[in-house]
Structures are given as C-alpha cells and as structure tokens.
Amino acid sequence: MAVVTRAWLLSDTPASRAQARWGRRYQLWLAFRRNPLAVAGLAIVLVMLALALAAPLLATHDPGVQSLADRLQPPSAAHWMGTDELGRDTWSRMLYGGRVTLGMVVAVVVLVAPLGLIVGCVAGYVGGITDKLLMRVTDVFLAFPRLILALAFVAAMKPGVESAIIAIALTAWPPYARLARAETLTIRNTDYVAAVQMTGASPWRIICRHVAPMCLPSLTVRVTLDMSSIILTAAGLGFLGLGAQPPIPEWGTMIASARRFILEQWWVPVIPGLAIFAASLAFNLLGDGLRDVLDPKQR
C-alpha cells in the first residue's frame, strides 16, 4: 500500500487536481526531509505544541495551587521540575505556560501574516499613490524599535495577554508588508501576470489568486524565522510585567518572578529559559529548512 501511495504521489501524469496538488506537496516534503536539522526543528515544534495542547492531561498538579510549605523544591518524583517560590508545580506551570506563550505566538502570526501580505501585495501591485501611502504608514511603524512601541502600547492599555498580542502584532507586520511588496514588484511584471490581466480579471482577483500565492513561500519562511523573536518579545513583555499577569503561567513571566533565585535555586528560572531557548531554536531551524525548500530564488 505504501508503495502504491508513493507512486500515486510521484506520478508524472496526475489524473486529478487533488493528485497534482498532493504530489507537489509530497515533493516538497521529500526535499524537506533531506535536511535533518530542519526535521529536528519541526519535531521539537510539534512536540511542544502537542504538550501545550495536552496540558490538562499531562499536568500533575493544578498550576495555580500554592503550597508555601513546598516552595523552591528541586526536581523530585512528586515535582518533576521542582516548585517555584509559591510552591507551585513547575512542570504543570510549564505545560500551561506553553499554552499561553505559544498561543500568543500563533495569535500574533494569524494577525500579522495576512495583514502584511495584503498590504504588501496591494501596495506593490496597484502602485502609485496607494503604494506611497501604504508604504509610508509601514515606515512609521518600522521606525519604532519593536519592544519600545509594544511597551508604549501596553502601558497605554491595561497590561495583559491580549494587549501584548496586539502590541507585538502592531510592531511585527511592517517587515512582512515590505517583503510582500518587494516580491509583488517582480511578480507584477512577469508574463504570467500579464496573461492573467489579458483574461480581464479584476486587480483584486489577480492579487488574491495569482500574486499572493507566489509571495507565500518567502513570507512563510520569514514568519517561521521571526517566531523566535516573537517568542522573545512576548517573554520580554512578560518579564517586564506588561504581558501575561500573575497568576497566569507564561514562560517570560516565570523567569521574571524567579530571577531572584538564580544563584541558590537556579533551576527555577532556568527551566522556562530553556523552554524559550528550545522553542526559538526549533523555529529557526524549521525556518531555515523551509527556506531551502520553498524559496524560489534558491532553486
């Protein structure tokens, strides 16, 4: 059966739209699989997402329940990763914290990628005044250092996960718009776009169905590579007390509140630090692998 599916996927003469599409995806996967580091990155990302999703099943304790008698315990059979300064189980808090941290990252990407794509494609394709206007707005956002703008925004609103997401999203979209615009400028002048224009399709249709899909690969790569910096910004905001608010577990916030114990009970801040490190590294490896496979300029 496995052989039959492989042949079906690799067929030179697909018999249906679906087969052609899946065949292409399979080819990409084959190319991706040849890069062990990228596969490792993907594996780590998937494991982390799975752990975060399955947090209620895997957690050994309630992440919010304090037990001051057991504070700052080293890892043991009862507390796999020890306990924090309020005696909460670190393992359980890591799992729930993953939900918050990774959830923030996903939320930011879901907000930012389509926004950047649309702004960039429209600016690049339509050109003229629209382009100038959209790009100047982009420049305004780009001119602020990311963390500072996020800080100002969160400070103006009430600190919390939602405002942190919006703040990071506000500062993260301009690079995608720039990237998408640059890609669009080259795509706009190709003959295949001229050919679609010759069908009489509306600009909107051309952007959505023909231009944007060509920008997607490089955007995907860029987003994946940026995930780590989004994680770090989220953690940074948490660390500064402007992201997730206690008692919500979030990796950055966890480091912030445990930083006092770094010399005596070093594992308390180091464990969430390692998680942030691993997640950033995994996304970077994944992004590098994706670039090799998806970016047309590499072919």
């Binding site: 739209r17 190709t190 003959d191 295949y192 069908t199 899909p213």
Partner: protein
C-alpha cells in the same frame, strides 16, 4: 478589424514608439518585424492594454480603445507571449491555468471546454494536471495558445511565439497556429525578429526600426525583392544568407 493610428508610446521620458499606423483586415495575419529595441513588442503590448502611457488612436472591432480595457475587450483579444517558461504561472496546473479565463468570463461547462481546448492544441490528456515545469517548451507554448483561445477570441496577438523553441518544435507550433487561424477565422498580429517566420504566416508586414515603421510590404514583395527601404532589404538579405 484592428486600426492603429499615430501611436506614440513613452516609457517615462523615453519615447519608444513613434507615429506608428497600420490597419489589419478581418481574417488577416499582419506581421511586425524588426531587431531588438525596434519597438515591435511594445506596439503589440500597447494594443493588448498592457502598456500605460500611450497616445494616438487604437480601435479593435470598430470600437475605439481607451487607456482602460473592459472585460469584453479581453474576451475578443488574446495574446501569446514569447517565453513559454515565463508566461505560465509556476504554481498552477494546466487545468487551473485554462480554467481561469472561463471563470473570469463566467463561461459555463469548464470541464468539456478544457478537454476540447487540450485536444485542439494536440496536448495529451495526461498533461491536464501537470505543472508547467513538468512540460517541455513546445507543450508549454501549446498550453499558452490553448489559454488564449479558450474564451473564443476573434483577435490573437502573437509576441515571438516560437523564438524560444527548437526549430522542429517551431514548425509544429507554426502549423498549429496556421490551422487554428483557419478553423476559427482569427485576425492575428505576429511579432517576430525572424523574417522567415513572418513571411511564412503573414500576408502583409511592417518593418520597424528605432520605434518607427519604415515600410509596409506584402508577402509577395518580400519574396520578389521589390522592397524599397534599405533596412528591409538588409533584413531580407540576412535572412537569405542564413538560409544558406
């Protein structure tokens, strides 16, 4: 059918086409020949509505054309591009490429039309769900021709349709174009740098140099050497020389 009068095209401050005028009768195939930079492709792309910044008179089917073309224009006028590698969307299958004009014009019955279009350009059924990179140059150009013809246009603009192809494939594509032109009563404008290709398909042709038409000659004049302009004569001499 197609009327071009005193056409001027500017790219920024650079005028690339000067006072170009010609008419093409229904069912005729008109040639534009010249060396690179002579403005022949620009004239064609301007007619197609792909070039902004022109002035002069353009009319197709008796309708005067403005800077913006409507959907009806694109239903009756279609174009085949030079580079079959660049004119097909690299991430769309042949099926999707052919379905697009049908979707835009709201033409029903895509399934049978696509099958028929593939038959018409003699592409195997197996090619339907392939991506362009899985096809040869000649097959890609056939896909481009099928796409141009699928919405039943009356005018076909051909921009160096065979110059990226091998000579044996060029012969097949030229034959195909001749057959389709016959079967569908198409009016065509063919742009090429190759005088032999133009002479093969076109009844009349304009010789362009430096953005201007230097002479309009008939196929017969081309053959019996009664062309007057030195540039035309030069091109004819070169073409004979290369035939050996």
């Amino acid at each position: 059918m197609i009327e071009v009068q005193h056409l001027n095209v500017h790219f920024g401050h650079n005028q690339v086409v000067h006072e170009v005028s010609f008419q093409v009768a229904p069912g005729e195939t008109f040639g534009l020949v010249g060396e690179s930079g002579s403005g022949k492709s620009t004239v064609l792309r301007t007619i197609a509505g792909l070039v902004p910044g022109w002035d002069g008179g353009l009319a197709v089917n008796g309708k005067t054309l403005g800077p913006k073309r409507d959907r009806a224009f694109f239903k009756s006028v279609q174009m085949v591009f030079q580079d079959p590698y660049g004119s097909l969307h690299p991430r769309q299958t042949v099926d999707r490429i052919l379905a697009e004009p049908l979707a835009v014009h709201g033409i029903p019955d895509a399934e049978t039309r696509i099958t028929r279009a593939l038959e018409e350009v003699a592409l195997p059924r197996a090619a339907r769900f392939r991506y362009p990179h899985q096809l040869s140059g000649g097959q890609r150009q056939r896909v481009a021709i099928a796409r141009a013809l699928i919405a039943n246009p009356s005018v076909l603009l051909l921009d160096e349709p065979t110059s990226a192809l091998d000579v044996s494939v060029q012969a097949e594509v030229l034959n195909l174009l001749a057959d389709l032109r016959e079967a569908r009563q198409l009016t065509c404008i063919l742009v090429s740098h190759n005088l032999a290709v133009i002479g093969h398909l076109c009844g009349r042709l304009a010789v362009m140099q430096g953005g201007r038409i230097v002479e309009i000659v008939s196929q017969a004049q081309l053959r019996d050497g009664t062309a007057r302009h030195p540039h035309t004569r030069e091109l004819i001499a070169l073409s004979h020389e290369l035939e050996g």
